[in-house]
């Protein structure tokens, strides 16, 4: 009676393991949850090797378990017994040389095919999106080569289009890794590298630097956001219109616009259309153009909400220890909160006044979160 109940429970749990496993292994940064052909091919190879390893494990562990149990010395006398002193067996040696050779060939053939189908260097054609990605300590710069603008930490791509990313680093090694879309490729100074991928469905895919770069390495994150073509076109258009940023009717926003100059923000950060005829910023720092369209602050470490943005401005080191953003206000500065509020209002207005305002449909976070 008891036994049967436990057996039923055990079976129910056992049956649900694959289900649990399947949802546990999905996610916006999971290599087992591909959203494009490159990551799919990489995952398929992993699954293939996993299947091939099953007979190896069953064979080796089965023989190991069987032989240590079957041939164990049963008592002290047995421990002194002398079994037949076999030195080897030529046929067996041949057999277990051939078995791994066959297994290795079974792995090697699809491996070589996939290497050439996913790692071949490609030229970006007219139908492709060409992006130049530069790794910096501790953020990613994305130059849209066909459109002539620059953004940071969020790579917006159209669904179903091949994205060809040329990779470079401005300082130490970094690595460009978006597990849902493609395996990583290192960003190395003086070393042209490339990665390409396609996103099959709209959505937000998490990326992260995968090569130790000290300091805030753990916080060097980014996102790839795949949009349907019309949304993507509107997003591109908003950047091309950024040069003609209107003066806001909101005095708070205009105060923020003045403050980003007073506090020195624009010494580093570019903002296209900051004032007509005025170029601000330095290309080696993250651009804030159309910052209101970003989904995150601090290189994809927090959602881009007014609260998070204010917290970031108040104490960047608390949110992202080790990063190069200076703390702009002393804790006892009486104007701190007012000024932060104005700058937040200004930054979040960027990109939202024009056509794109409120019309972009961002795909949800991949993996249903």
């Amino acid at each position: 009676m008891h036994v049967r109940r436990w057996l039923q429970r055990g079976l129910a749990i056992a049956a649900s393991v694959p289900l649990i496993a399947a949802c546990e292994f999905s996610g916006p940064q999971s290599a087992l949850d591909p959203a494009g052909p490159v990551a799919q091919a990489q995952r398929d190879l992993f699954v293939w090797t996993l299947w091939l390893s099953v007979p190896v494990m069953v064979g080796v562990f089965g023989v190991l378990l069987y032989s240590v149990l079957r041939f164990r010395a049963k008592n002290a006398e047995d421990e002194r017994a002398i079994p037949h002193q076999t030195h080897g067996n030529f046929k067996l040696e041949i057999a277990w040389t051939i078995i791994p050779v066959i297994l290795v060939i079974l792995v090697a053939v699809p491996t070589v095919r996939t290497i050439f189908s996913t790692e071949q260097r490609v030229e970006a054609g007219p139908d492709d999106l060409a992006v130049h990605a530069t790794g910096y300590q501790w953020w990613f710069k994305f130059d849209y080569l066909d459109h002539g603008f620059t953004t940071a930490n969020e790579l917006i791509i159209p669904v179903g289009t091949r994205v060809v990313v040329s990779l470079d680093s401005a300082d130490v090694l970094h690595s460009f890794w978006v597990p849902n879309l493609a395996g990583k490729r290192d960003m190395i100074p003086n070393n042209d590298n490339q990665v390409w991928f396609v996103a099959d469905a709209p959505g937000t895919y998490y990326g992260q630097c995968a090569e130790l770069c000290l300091g805030a390495h753990a916080y060097m994150r980014f996102r790839v956001i795949a949009m349907e073509q019309p949304d993507y076109d509107r997003w591109i258009a908003s950047f091309q219109n950024a040069a003609a940023q209107p003066v806001s009717a909101d005095p708070l926003v205009e105060r923020g616009r003045a403050l980003v100059a007073q506090k020195g923000c624009v010494a580093c950060h570019a903002i296209d259309g900051y004032r007509p005829g005025t170029e601000v910023g330095n290309p080696d720092f993250p651009s804030l153009t159309n910052f209101g369209l970003r989904t995150t602050v601090g290189a994809a470490i927090a959602d881009n909400t007014p609260e998070n943005l204010a917290a970031w401005l108040r104490d960047p080191q608390a949110m992202k220890p080790g990063n190069y953003m200076p703390t702009l206000w002393r804790a006892d500065d009486p104007n701190r909160e007012d000024e932060i509020e104005a700058i937040v209002a200004y930054l979040l207005s960027l990109g939202r006044d024009g056509q794109a305002s409120g019309q972009l449909t961002l795909g949800g976070i991949h993996g249903g979160q």
């Binding site: 992993f46 090797t49 164990r72 090697a108 491996t111 003086n190 390495h217």
Partner: protein, 643 residues
Amino acid sequence: MAVSKVTVPVPAPESTPSDGLFTRPTWTTGIASWLTTVDHKRLGLLYIFTSFLFMAAASVEAFLIRLQLAVPNNTLLSPDAYNQMFTMHGVTMVFLAIMPLGIGFANYFVPLQIGARDLAFPRLNALGYWIYAAGGAFLYSSFFLGGAPDAGWFAYSPLTSLSNNPGNGTDFYMIGLLVGGIGTLVTAMNLIVTIVSMRAPGMTMMRVPVFTWMMLVTSFLIIFAFPPLTIALLQVIMDRTFGTLFYVPEAGGMPILWQHLFWIFGHPEVYIIVLPAFGVISEVIPTFSRKPLFGYPVVILSGIFIGFMGFAVWSHHMFTTGLGPVVNTAFALTSFVIGIPTGIKIFNWLGTIWGGKVVFTTSMLYAISFLFTFTLGGITGIMLAVPPFDAQAQDSYFVVAHFHYVMGGGALMAFFAGLYYWFPKMSGKLMDERIGKLGFWFLVPGLHLIFFPQHIAGLMGMPRRTQTYVAGIGLELPNLLSTAGTFVMLIGLILLLVNIVHGVLRGKPAGNDPWDARTLEWSVSSPPPHHNFDHQPVVNDRDALWVQKYPESVHGERVPESASEPYDAAGIHLPGQSWYPLFMGLALLVFSYALLFHNFWVVGISLAMVFFFTYAWALEGVGGHHFPAGRRGAGQHSKEGHA
């Protein structure tokens, strides 16, 4: 074959006057006797003891790493502190713990297994140890002198350039490994000369015990693998000290070059660690299966083949650096090929157990766990050799899990098997089997609890070397399990230490041959006498001792009686001790600090000291005394010793 008759041309049996600065010391007890020892057994113990000290430090570092990663957004360690922890954990385990542990066993047991009196160059052996000890102390002093190295154990350029890493942690790494490498090199040369030229009469290469064979292969790997590392280290030292531009990208330097040079060393280094472990397993499994190693020549040849191939796979550490599809294909195929001899070894170990009488000692348990864990690590190794999958797994926790399966669950567990196996020989006492097995059942399951979930964490997108991770993408559970595992494994490690101390203080007498083992080290007393063998053993077969004990089990008839021959009438020459290895080690330590602090006067003085000590070393004279052993029939070779 008169290879190892110890015939030193010394006229008198007692100590000779020295030509050097000091007479060669002759202490037999006390600290000075250890500081000046040239005895391979004492040096072996020093190696093993020191590697355990460093392993303890590395365990503390690992423990802190896992505490930091127990939950997301933990703030126990700052990013800087975390980087130092995992860098020093890796550097320690590779260079100061596991590799020297293998060398320690080799020091102790290679001469005993081949029937030799000592290594070929006893003082050189001591020099190797003192450089290792000095190098380890030098590296660890970095914690008190401005911060430990923090660029990872492979210290990728340009993270190590002066502009990117101005602290002197990187200098400690570069100089420490450079100087430490000298010690490893001289030890490797010493082992090669010993194994090639000092084997007992009759011990042909195909009769050499597998552990010794694997140490021979390992020593060649060391000699060919360390020079590329030395070159790379020198380049970075020159970049940082003299302003050269090998690895300065702004001046056109090529950081990728470091990766090639490092991994041309680094992959053979993996086998420098693992091949001795294979050797230990090839001793333990036959002994406790009471059968000869299955397919001895195949196991030896596959070890040699792995050694060769180890130099042809380095770029599989660089699949994601954009070498292109052709290069990635080539290195994927060579990496697959290296899986074949590894598989063959595993099959032969299984063949050894098959049909034997398996004695479940703690040592055998560790060996069995090695087979299990190393097979899993081998499977993930083949997976990682698939470049498209490696693109996902590289630099993720999947890789961390893989190399801890082969280095920790593989090599280290094999050495623990070796420790339980050889402890009675080294101490003369038995370790407690109950504590041993209890410890095993914490240690190995704990190890799997730590590292199995890390495969999952890596596949879920967790990069290695990050001191925190994002909540909500499935990384919490694997990390928490992993951290829980450290507590379980810690209990196992503590029980292991308890058992060692208990064994030394309270252990029951072991006798010569507690395991009814197969090789010559078990033919002498435990611990062995200073001069090792009363008689020169003469070897007629593989498993020399077993054949002496049970000739009919192998031949079905008795082999000729003569299993040993007397040494010269003068007895066995035992050389005097020497201060110079220690002094050279200290001079190199001074050199290291002087170079680190850019004090070139002291650099010059320390190099002059090294030169002077070399000179004095050469003129020190032979010294020592003769042990009056060697009369036929007087030694421990009688069968009573095994009863």
